[in-house]
C-alpha cells in the first residue's frame, strides 16, 4: 500500500518537476519549430549559476528567480542568437540538431571543467519534511508541485488570455500569416526563448534541490526524460506536455519500484523513442512536419 | 520489343470495351479514390491509357491530377479502386516495385539529385542493372565499367538531343528551375519506361524549348512509348495529347480528343472556357 502511495506521490512530484521543464521546451519548439538539444545543458548551467551566485540560499524563491534569470539569458543567447544565425543561413533540421549538440557539448564539458571531479551538494530553502501516510516528502518537493501548478496556470493564461499569447500561437501556426497580422515574429520568438529558458532555470534549481546534489551531466540525462514527456504530449503543445509529464513521471517511478531503480530513466527513454518513431505527432496534437524552421 | 505501330493510337471517343480486336489498354484506372483527412482529393476516377498514346490529363488547379499520378506511381496509397498495368493489379504496391515494372514518373516539384551532376542524375535513371549491387561495388571495377560506359553514351545522346551537353557535369543543385525539370525528364527517359507519367513537364520551361521538347515527346510516342501527361498549356495538349482526360473536383469529367472536348458544354464550363476553373 505504501509502495503504491509512494509511486503515486513521487510520481506526481516527478511529473511536476518534468512538467515545468517540458512545458518550456515544448513551448519554444511549438513557436520556433527548433528542436533544442542543448536544453539539458542550459538546465545544468542554471544550477551552476544559481549555486555560484547565491550559494546555499535560504530562500527558495530567490534561488528560483536566479535560476530563471540565468536560464532566460542563456536560452536567448543560444537559441535566438546562435541558432538563429544558423537558421538565417538556411540550416535545416539536421544542421540545427548538430549545432545544438555542439553547443550542448561545449556547455556541459565547460561546466565539468569548472566543477572538477566532485559532485556538488546543493540545497536551498527550508529542510522541513512532511509525512503523507508514511511517504516522506521534503518541502522542496512540495514546493515543486506548487510551482508546477502555478507555472502551468501561468502558461495557459499567457497563451489563452493575453495578446502576446495570441501572437505566440499565431507564430506557431503560420509565420507569414502572423507577420501579416501585425505580429512581429522575431520579437515573439525572442520572448519565447526567454520564457522557455526561465522555466528551464526554475526546473533546474528544483531538480538540484530534489536531488540534493548536482554535476555537469545532471541536466543532460534529465533532459531526455523531460523530452519524453514533451514528445509524448505532442511536441509543441504545452497542455500535452503536462499530461505527458504525468504519464512519464508515474511510469518511471513504477519502473524504478517494480524492475530496478536503474530502469527509472530507461523506461522513459524507450517511450520517447517509440513515440518519436511511431507517432511523432504525440498523443494529442497534430503534426508539424512541413513547417519551416525559424528562430 | 513491345513497340506498337505508330498508327495504333486510337481515335478517341468512348472507351470501346466491347471492341473485339482491341488490345487491352496498357493502364486501366478504375474507381480510384483517395482522401487526405477530410479532403476527397480523388473520387471514383476511371480512365484508360492505351498503348502508344500520349494521354493528356487536364483540369483546374486542385482537380486531383497530381494525386492521380501519385496513386498510379505508388507515392500515395489509394483508399480504394484498382490500377491495372498490362493486366496486373498494381494498386497498393510500393513506388519502387511499380517503377520496376516500367512505370516511371516525373514530379510536379522538380525532384533532382542536387548533390549529383546532371550526368550522374541520368545514370541513376537507367533501369536497375547488375553493376549497382554491393557485390559489384566490392569487386573489380572492370566488372561494371563497360556497362556503365554504355549507359554514359546513352546519357550523352539524350543530353545532346536536348541541347544540354554543356551542363552535363554541373551539379544539379546549381541549375535553374526549368533546367531541373529537363534533367528530371531526361532522367526518366534513361529508364526507357513502358509508361511515362509526366506531371507538368513544361511548366517553367521557355516556350521555344517547350516546343522542341514536344517534338521529342512526339518522336518517342511514334517509336512506341506511352505517356500520361498532366499539362495546363492547352495548345501543347492539343498538339500532343490524344485522348485527353478532363478532371474536376477529383473525378473524371470527360474523355476524348481535344476537338470533342471543346464541343462538350460541361467541360467548357468547368475548365476550358472559364480560363482555369472560374
Amino acid at each position: 500500500m505504501t509502495l503504491l502511495l509512494g509511486i503515486v506521490i513521487f510520481g506526481v512530484y516527478s511529473a511536476a518537476l518534468l512538467a515545468i521543464g517540458a512545458v518550456g521546451f515544448t513551448l519554444q519548439f511549438g513557436v520556433t519549430n527548433v528542436l533544442n538539444l542543448a536544453f539539458g545543458s542550459i538546465l545544468t548551467a542554471c544550477i551552476f549559476a544559481e549555486y555560484g551566485l547565491t550559494g546555499h540560499s535560504t530562500n527558495l524563491w530567490i534561488a528560483m528567480a536566479v535560476g530563471a534569470a540565468s536560464g532566460a539569458v542563456l536560452s536567448l543567447l543560444i537559441g535566438h542568437v546562435v541558432v538563429g544565425a544558423f537558421l538565417r543561413r538556411g540550416a535545416t533540421g539536421f544542421g540545427i540538431a548538430m549545432v545544438t549538440i555542439a553547443i550542448s557539448l561545449m556547455v556541459q564539458f565547460g561546466l565539468e571543467a569548472i566543477q572538477g571531479p566532485d559532485i556538488l551538494s546543493y540545497s536551498a530553502g527550508s529542510q522541513a519534511t512532511m509525512n503523507i501516510g508514511g511517504v516522506v516528502l521534503s518541502s522542496g518537493q512540495l514546493t515543486t508541485i506548487i510551482v508546477a501548478v502555478l507555472a502551468m496556470a501561468a502558461v495557459q493564461v499567457l497563451l489563452r488570455m493575453t495578446k502576446f499569447g495570441l501572437a505566440m500561437r499565431a507564430t506557431a501556426a503560420d509565420v507569414s500569416l502572423a507577420r501579416t497580422c501585425a505580429v512581429s515574429p522575431a520579437r515573439t520568438r525572442a520572448v519565447t526563448w526567454l520564457i522557455s529558458g526561465a522555466l528551464c532555470g526554475i526546473c533546474g534549481v528544483l531538480l538540484g534541490i530534489g536531488e540534493g546534489s548536482f554535476s555537469a551531466s545532471t541536466g543532460s540525462d534529465f533532459f531526455i526524460t523531460l523530452a519524453a514527456a514533451a514528445v509524448l504530449g505532442g511536441i509543441g503543445k504545452p497542455a500535452g506536455a503536462m499530461i505527458g509529464a504525468l504519464i512519464i513521471g508515474i511510469v518511471s517511478q513504477a519502473a524504478a519500484a517494480v524492475i530496478a531503480p536503474s530502469y527509472k530513466t530507461i523506461a522513459a527513454w524507450v517511450i520517447l523513442i517509440a513515440v518519436l518513431v511511431l507517432r511523432p505527432q504525440g498523443i494529442l496534437a497534430e503534426f508539424a512536419a512541413d513547417r519551416e524552421l525559424v528562430a | 520489343m513491345t513497340t506498337s505501330p505508330g498508327a495504333s493510337h486510337p481515335a478517341a471517343g468512348e472507351t470501346a470495351l466491347a471492341g473485339s480486336q482491341a488490345r487491352p489498354p496498357l493502364l486501366r484506372v478504375e474507381g480510384l479514390a483517395c482522401h487526405f483527412g477530410g479532403v476527397l482529393a480523388v473520387q471514383d476516377a476511371t480512365f484508360d491509357v492505351r498503348h502508344g498514346t500520349i494521354t493528356g490529363l487536364i483540369g483546374p488547379n486542385g482537380a486531383g491530377k497530381s494525386t492521380v499520378i501519385n496513386l498510379i506511381s505508388g507515392s500515395t496509397r489509394p483508399g480504394q479502386g484498382s490500377v491495372r498495368f498490362n493486366g496486373d493489379e498494381i494498386a497498393g504496391q510500393r513506388p519502387h516495385e511499380i517503377a520496376h515494372r516500367g512505370i516511371v514518373r516525373t514530379f510536379q516539384q522538380a525532384n533532382v539529385f542536387g548533390g549529383l551532376t546532371v550526368l550522374e542524375n541520368l545514370l541513376v535513371g537507367a533501369a536497375p542493372w547488375r553493376g549497382e549491387r554491393v557485390s559489384a561495388a566490392l569487386g573489380r571495377k572492370q566488372a561494371w565499367s563497360a556497362t556503365q560506359s554504355g549507359l554514359l553514351d546513352q546519357a550523352w545522346d539524350i543530353l545532346r538531343r536536348f541541347g544540354l551537353e554543356g551542363i552535363a557535369n554541373d551539379y544539379a543543385r546549381a541549375l535553374s528551375g526549368g533546367q531541373r525539370r529537363l534533367v528530371e525528364l531526361m532522367r526518366a527517359l534513361m529508364a526507357q519506361p513502358a509508361l511515362l507519367l509526366l506531371d507538368e513537364p513544361m511548366a517553367g520551361v521557355h516556350p521555344a524549348l517547350a516546343a522542341s521538347i514536344a517534338d521529342r515527346l512526339l518522336e518517342m510516342r511514334d517509336a512506341g512509348m506511352t505517356m500520361l501527361m498532366v499539362e495546363h498549356e492547352l495548345r501543347l495538349v492539343e498538339k500532343l495529347c490524344d485522348p485527353v482526360v478532363v478532371m474536376a473536383r477529383g473525378t473524371v469529367l470527360a474523355e476524348g480528343s481535344m476537338a470533342e472536348l471543346q464541343s462538350n458544354q460541361e467541360v467548357v464550363d468547368a475548365y476550358l472556357g472559364g480560363g482555369g476553373g472560374g
Binding site: 549545432v99 555542439a102 520517447l272 | 520489343m1 550522374e120 538531343r161
Partner: protein, 340 residues
C-alpha cells in the same frame, strides 16, 4: 629517437588507424548515404564487446571477479571477424529507427536516445558485460604465440591495424566510386526520386548501414584488443560526435577528408592536449577537449560546412560522339523506347 618515444608513436599510429576505420564507416553511412546516425558509437561498442567476449575465457577462469555472458576463448583473428559481424548485424535493429522517414531532427534525437539507452542497459544488466565496471583482462591477439618485446608487439599490432585499414579503405572506396555508391548519394538527396526510378531506398540504406556498422564493429574490436578493457564509460554518447566532428572538419564524402579528420580531431585535439603542461585538476584537460571539439564543430558548420577536403565531383568526359541532325532522331527514339 628514444625507444620510449618510438613506443609512444607506434601506439599513436595504432589509435589513428582504429579511428580511421571508424570514421570511414561513418562516412559511408552519413557522408555518402546521409543517414543521421547519432548512435554510431553503439556500433563500435558492440564490436568491442563482441571481440572481448569472443576472446575472453569463461568468467570462471579468472576467479569470477567479473561477470559476463559467454567467454569463448577464440583464437585470433576470430574475435575481430566476430566484432565486424556483430557491428553489421546491429544495423538491422538500429535500422528500424535509422531508416524510417522521419523529420531529421526527430530522428537525430531518437538515435541519440538509443545511444543513451544502450549505455543504460550495459550498466544496469550487470551479468551481461560486467555492468558499469566493464570488462578487463581481454586477451590480446597472438599473445603467447609470438614472443616479443612490448615495442615489438606494438609493431605487430600496427601491422594488423594497417591491414584492417587497408580492408576498410577497400570497402569504402569500392562503395563510394561504384554505381551502388551513386545510388546512395541519390538517396541522400531524394528518397522519393530514387523510389520512382525503381530502387528500394530502404534496402539501399540498410545495406550501407550494415557496411558502415561492420567497419565500426571492426574498429571497436581492434580498440578493445589493443587496450584490453572496455566498459560503458569508454563509449558514452559524446564519442559519436568525435567522429562526426572529424568528418565535418576533414570533409564528408571524401576518404582523404575522413583521414585528415582522423588526424586532426581524435589524434590532433585529444592526443595533443595530453602533452600540454598539466594545469587544473586531473581530468580538466579531458573536459576542455570536448569544449574544443564542440567549438570546432560550430566553427566548421559556420565557415566550412563541407570540410577541408570537400566531396569531389565525379566528372565524366564525353564519350563516343553521336552525329546530330534529324536522321538520327528515329534511332534516338528507338533506342529510348527499345527493349527493356
Amino acid at each position: 629517437m628514444t625507444s620510449g618515444l618510438v613506443y609512444y608513436l607506434s601506439g599513436l599510429a595504432i589509435l589513428l588507424g582504429i579511428n580511421l576505420i571508424a570514421i570511414w564507416g561513418l562516412d559511408l553511412q552519413f557522408g555518402l548515404a546521409g543517414i543521421n546516425n547519432f548512435a554510431y558509437i553503439v556500433f563500435q561498442a558492440a564490436g568491442g564487446y563482441a571481440a572481448a567476449l569472443f576472446a575472453l575465457k569463461p568468467a570462471k577462469a579468472y576467479g569470477g571477479f567479473e561477470t559476463y555472458l559467454g567467454g569463448f576463448n577464440l583464437p585470433f583473428p576470430l574475435p575481430l571477424i566476430g566484432a565486424a559481424a556483430v557491428g553489421g548485424l546491429l544495423a538491422v535493429p538500429v535500422g528500424l529507427i535509422a531508416i524510417r522517414r522521419l523529420r531529421a531532427d526527430y530522428q537525430a534525437m531518437a538515435m541519440l536516445v538509443l545511444s543513451l539507452i544502450a549505455t543504460g542497459l550495459a550498466e544496469a544488466q550487470t551479468g551481461l558485460v560486467n555492468g558499469p565496471t566493464g570488462l578487463a583482462l581481454i586477451p590480446r591477439p597472438l599473445v603467447g604465440i609470438v614472443h616479443v618485446t612490448p615495442l615489438g608487439y606494438n609493431w605487430i599490432f600496427l601491422g594488423l591495424t594497417a591491414g584492417c585499414c587497408a580492408l576498410a579503405w577497400w570497402v569504402a572506396r569500392g562503395i563510394s566510386r561504384s554505381p551502388f555508391g551513386r545510388l546512395l548519394r541519390a538517396v541522400r538527396d531524394s528518397e522519393s526520386a530514387v523510389a520512382a526510378l525503381g530502387r528500394n531506398p530502404d534496402a539501399l540504406r540498410m545495406k550501407v548501414l550494415i557496411a558502415g556498422g561492420a567497419l565500426a564493429g571492426l574498429s571497436g574490436g581492434l580498440l578493445v584488443e589493443y587496450v584490453t578493457a572496455w566498459g560503458p564509460s569508454s563509449w558514452l554518447y559524446p564519442e559519436t560526435f568525435l567522429f562526426f566532428t572529424a568528418l565535418i572538419v576533414g570533409g564528408k564524402g571524401n576518404l582523404a577528408g575522413g583521414a585528415l579528420g582522423a588526424l586532426l580531431v581524435p589524434i590532433g585535439i585529444v592526443e595533443a592536449s595530453r602533452h600540454l603542461p598539466a594545469f587544473g585538476y586531473p581530468g580538466m584537460i579531458d573536459s576542455l577537449d570536448w569544449v574544443v571539439i564542440g567549438a570546432c564543430l560550430l566553427v566548421f558548420l559556420w565557415f566550412r560546412p563541407n570540410g577541408l577536403l570537400p566531396e569531389r565531383k565525379r566528372v565524366f568526359r564525353a564519350g563516343r560522339q553521336q552525329a546530330g541532325g534529324t536522321q538520327v532522331s528515329g534511332a534516338f527514339a528507338q533506342r529510348l523506347t527499345g527493349s527493356r
